[in-house]
Assembly symmetry: C2
Homo-oligomer: 433 residues x 2
């Protein structure tokens, strides 16, 4: 991953960050890097995620998924960080796999039922992922999936891989039924676990190159250093932080590739859950080029000056010619390919924001393959860890989601929780049709 922050400079954009400010900020980056390096060396909670390129064992993952390696379809049953890493990898690389990968990451009953009716269960693999083994949505969906296999006369124990912590209900269950299983590594929060078994089981079932994912990440890890000017990940994290401090309260992630749409969801979780605390944090926006030029660009270019736009581009890829036409006004299209049109749209959009003084940053991949994707995921994780240090927040916790978990459990009769009582006290001001 290369990064170009030229259009985030104060000489181009407002808000923008001056070269001098970046140099002063670089002293904080050096300090933050020391803390990050120490955390990695000591395997501290969270920082340990940045060691995954060395720690993850691709052979163990491939051995474990061997019983379902020929699956036509793969269902990852998980939510949040237990699903998004797997989905990001399998979506980005879907064109290279014959296995259809989906995530059951919601408990919408109609949607769950539609998936289960459609899937060839006798040839479907199930990848159930929950560190605690108690996540309500995941366990409910797993119970439903298990029943669907039983109803179809398929032995679910032959089709299921479990990824969970060292103990808990899901660990017990996997031992009772002797299921192939892997461990969520200690010290790695869900949203930082794409490059562990949590994300790599799906990649393995879909036949992707696990070593290339890890070596791409390792190459990015090698750039971590005491200066943002030498490390693309830190350049991105520091620039995002500096822009937020200057008014860019939002960060729109805009890949120019359909295959990276799920990557934007993954990024949105990483950024929101890691940095959104203590009344701080830059809000991630998800958009897609070229589509959202016809939806969000008006706002990004002419709305409030409160956004950084991050583009992700890929140099190489499949292309397709645009056929010639006898319509004179459209003749210029017939001289181009769809890829050239997409590239021109990207360059035009980037320049249109710069011309309006709106800050933007470019993340450049050579292509969308395992190696580059591993680098992108690792790079964004390192950028996020650095940003967390600069904000001074606890990057690796998510305490604000506990309240709703307790209330949900209480509402369903799973124990006494005062949070559930508060639900009944809702303030109302209704306007009805």
């Amino acid at each position: 991953m290369d990064v170009d922050i030229g259009n985030a400079l104060a000489s181009v954009a407002s808000p923008g960050v001056s070269r001098e400010s970046l140099e002063r900020l670089d002293e904080q980056v050096a300090d933050a890097h020391e803390r990050i390096e120490a955390g990695m060396a000591d395997g501290e909670h969270g920082y340990e995620a940045l060691n995954l390129p060395d720690r993850t064992d691709p052979d163990e993952i491939r051995r474990t998924v061997e019983p379902v390696a020929d699956a036509e379809a793969l269902v990852t049953v998980g939510i949040g960080g237990s699903a998004l890493g797997a989905a990001t990898i399998t979506e980005a690389l879907a064109a290279e796999s014959d296995t259809e990968a989906i995530s059951l990451d919601n408990v919408d009953p109609a949607w769950v039922s539609n998936h289960l009716e459609r899937l060839p269960l006798e040839n479907t693999a199930v990848n159930v992922v929950s560190r605690s083994g108690t996540t309500a949505e995941t366990l409910a969906n797993f119970l439903v999936v298990r029943e669907a296999f039983e109803d179809a006369g398929v032995d679910w124990t032959e089709r299921t891989i479990v990824t969970t912590g060292e103990s808990g209900p899901l660990r017990d269950l996997s031992e009772r039924h002797d299921l192939p299983s892997l461990s969520v590594p200690d010290g790695v929060p869900g949203r930082f676990s794409a490059l562990s078994a949590v994300g790599m089981v799906a990649a393995a079932v879909c036949g992707h190159d696990l070593e290339a994912l890890l070596s791409g990440a390792a190459a990015e890890a090698e750039t971590l250093s005491g200066s943002l000017f030498d490390c693309p990940a830190y350049a991105y994290g520091a620039t995002s932080y500096a822009l937020d401090a200057r008014g860019a309260r939002m960060n729109a992630m805009v890949p120019y590739a359909e295959s990276l749409e799920t990557y934007s969801e993954w990024f949105a979780q990483l950024w929101a859950e890691s940095l959104g605390k203590d009344d701080l944090g830059q809000t991630p926006l998800r958009a897609l080029g070229a589509t959202d030029q016809h939806s969000q660009l008006q706002l990004y270019r002419a709305g409030p000056r409160d956004k950084l736009v991050t583009f992700v581009t890929s140099e190489e890829g499949t292309d397709r010619s645009i056929p010639e036409t006898d319509v004179e006004d459209l003749a210029y299209l017939g001289d181009a390919t769809l890829g050239e049109l997409l590239d021109a749209e990207f360059e035009a959009t980037e320049a249109s924001l710069a011309a309006a003084g709106r800050p933007n940053v470019r993340l450049e991949l050579e292509r969308v393959d395992e190696y580059e994707l591993g680098g992108l995921l690792y790079g964004m994780e390192a950028a996020c860890v650095l940003a967390g240090e600069l904000y001074g927040v606890n990057t690796f916790e998510q305490p604000a989601v506990e309240w709703a978990k307790k209330a949900t459990r209480g509402l369903l009769g799973g124990g006494e929780f005062e949070e559930a009582d508060a639900v009944a006290e809702k303030s109302e001001l209704r306007v009805e049709r």
Copy 2:
């Protein structure tokens, strides 16, 4: 659509709006409603969109799509407002249709090719939509689709419906090949056109009840009146505006239904392109319940106090039991259904935001069907028009997207444009791996 703004009141949330402030704002709502009514009566540009429930002719649309009414798959070739209305309707109601509906709303070559290889072209309908008939992405994709039909030996003229303006290249082409065609109505901007032929052709091909879509919208239209306390759409538009003015610079649209995920994209375009101008406008965020509780909730509850969260709920729907389990810690799940779990998650999340003083609003549908969906789309359009009046912006234009269109055309050799020259002058500050 019913609206509950109780959790946006200053007595609950910060930012929040006091009952007294709402009553003062209601005087502006009364004035804005007069302007909206006059615009509708005179068929003024933009306001005309609010007349669509009366103006759209479902019989004409059904007659026009008759040649492809038995299609197995439908491809809408369009982008932005020419695609999102159709996609919102067909996604929301997908469970009721045997026709698979997709949108080619991007020019990513690998993605376009994958779709074309996968589709049963001999039984696929094409719905090409562009008011001007010159939209680069749409026309390029249409040329590619046409070639794919020819290569497959399928007569594309038998499979294609055109929706365009009264003149332009696409109108000429439809006349030359005698294609079934419909007109984009005058005075209706793309993002307000879901309830015209632009959105309804796809609904008709998929066999949905066009009259119910329009009568649901008409019921919402009947509520338009001089007070936000009598009109759900205005209650929503006015509350969003008031919250933005008090610091909620973002508006997260969070349906608790997978089938409404595309609706959030449609809303994001409506809100961003209509209100994002003159350095004003509230930025739409897209999220999904319950999934994003494990991704965005931490930020919404504990990050900066700069967001309004809008929930969309549905009272009735398909349900599915959660099987019982012998795992004690999970026994409470086995007494519930997936629908009850989803409802509990919604109530818990809503209450968790209120308990943290974060403003939120509830949009309530009885179910996700044609009638309720028509009401939701119309209601959000009316809310947006009201908000535009309160901001004092030109709701129906999108001037900021022109720059990039010209630059794109120039870069591809489609004429001389100074915008294209500016692309070459990009400011760079590269950090490389």
